[in-house]
Symmetry: C2
Subunit: 295 residues, 2 copies
Amino acid sequence: MRLPFTLLIDPVPADSLQHDFADTFHEMDSSAPALRVGELSTQRGDGIFETLAVVNGHPQEVEPHISRLRNSARICELPVPNAEQWRAAIAYAVSRIPQRGEIALKFVLSRGVEHGPAPTAWLHAAAAADFSAVRADGVRVITLDRGYPRGVAEKAPWLLMGAKTLSYAVNMAAIREAHRRGADDTIFLTTDGFVMEGPTSSVVLRIAGEYVTPAPSGAILHGTTQQSMFDYLRAQGASVDYRDVTVDELRRADAVWLVSSVRLAVSVVALDGSDFPADQALTDALNTYLLARTA
Amino acid sequence: MRLPFTLLIDPVPADSLQHDFADTFHEMDSSAPALRVGELSTQRGDGIFETLAVVNGHPQEVEPHISRLRNSARICELPVPNAEQWRAAIAYAVSRIPQRGEIALKFVLSRGVEHGPAPTAWLHAAAAADFSAVRADGVRVITLDRGYPRGVAEKAPWLLMGAKTLSYAVNMAAIREAHRRGADDTIFLTTDGFVMEGPTSSVVLRIAGEYVTPAPSGAILHGTTQQSMFDYLRAQGASVDYRDVTVDELRRADAVWLVSSVRLAVSVVALDGSDFPADQALTDALNTYLLARTA
């Protein structure tokens, strides 16, 4: 029942008939070395990952995360993960970590050791950072050019947009750039002025009363928490839509949220240095809903 | 005197007055785990690297590689590496590996363990692949859109172009795309049709008798072996130039080479499925020169 918690996983093929995976998991001391320097995850950022929240012992959005991991694997030509094995690994991890509080559970599939026989995989759980302040007060956001024109992902699938790869150096640099400009986070734009996503979040806007997120495409990850937010909004009778969103629409939106699995929903309260309207009551209601889910 | 060889390094600050670094190196079994799963190199591809060749006991282009590592660190806001320590680490490694044959020596600086106190660093030496066939016969190359317009790196430094980061998933995907199309390697183009570089190499063209490479810029790594090639060509009395090169110039070039530290110079013998003229005599002379360097 300690954190951090680390589980090494021997991946089995997607079509394996195996149903008991216990002997494919190896719990280990998180402070001990686990990976060889020849790992392509570390040499080349060549692997994929997901991070889900475990709230009071309940792992959230397990199926959407596993589904997205499998989709990332297809884009990256990695062996498609066995969903049943990952479900079992997550369940095992959840049984071994504290049953109270918020925990970030990351799971990784790497191409493995260079010239090695097989991919490697692991799962790592750590106490989530305390996001109570940003959930209550919102985040100051800057827009940054992601460098790509809209539609590039469809024309150039080797850019791996739409896959959640370990090659996140640009995402991390974008957050440092936000800090340098006195902000907290970033919204990426295409070079031709369309809203994409945050480095580690989805963007949801309220425009003329309707909730909108940029259409998931080759270039934009389909946010698992954004989908939960839309479920909540639909249940409230609100109108939701996936469509292209221009930077002008972003600047004129009624309200904007960054949404992600562990930080959950945060209001954008400043955009490129100017105050921005927020609907904090909805943010609060949404996070109450997201934290209370038990599946 | 065995390969692979792994050396863990405790990085000292660039301005350290230390001159004896022996106690900052820790040789270890390459098959043993060395890195924690919390490593940002593996979680986020958040680190930088260089790979140099050791030929018959001589490490090649040590200073250009260390210099480029330091430049990558500045772009990525990592602590700037202590050049003297890296020189000492490379020299130590070279003293511990076979003195015959070609060896690839990779050195890495990672942002370290998440929320950890310091970056981590290591060096890894392994026998080079046997490149005699591609050096003699050349490579079939396809052009691929890198998705970025020319000049984006200057406008968007958070894209980390010009830094040699561990986030290489796209580079690896581009090589897989080449293989899928029956080719060996890739030349990246900007969306507006300028030649950039290969996923793991520089591009050198001969155009109307002059040797040209795309100007190193925010978007293009300054190739260490390309610089050695230009040294050789200048010594032969040839004219060399750094400038913008369009894809039309690429298609009409007299000859094209991909140049990198370990594979060295290889002739492009096919471009996008069509045969391409090669100057194999120059390739051979160049590789003889590159392999014979003793500094």
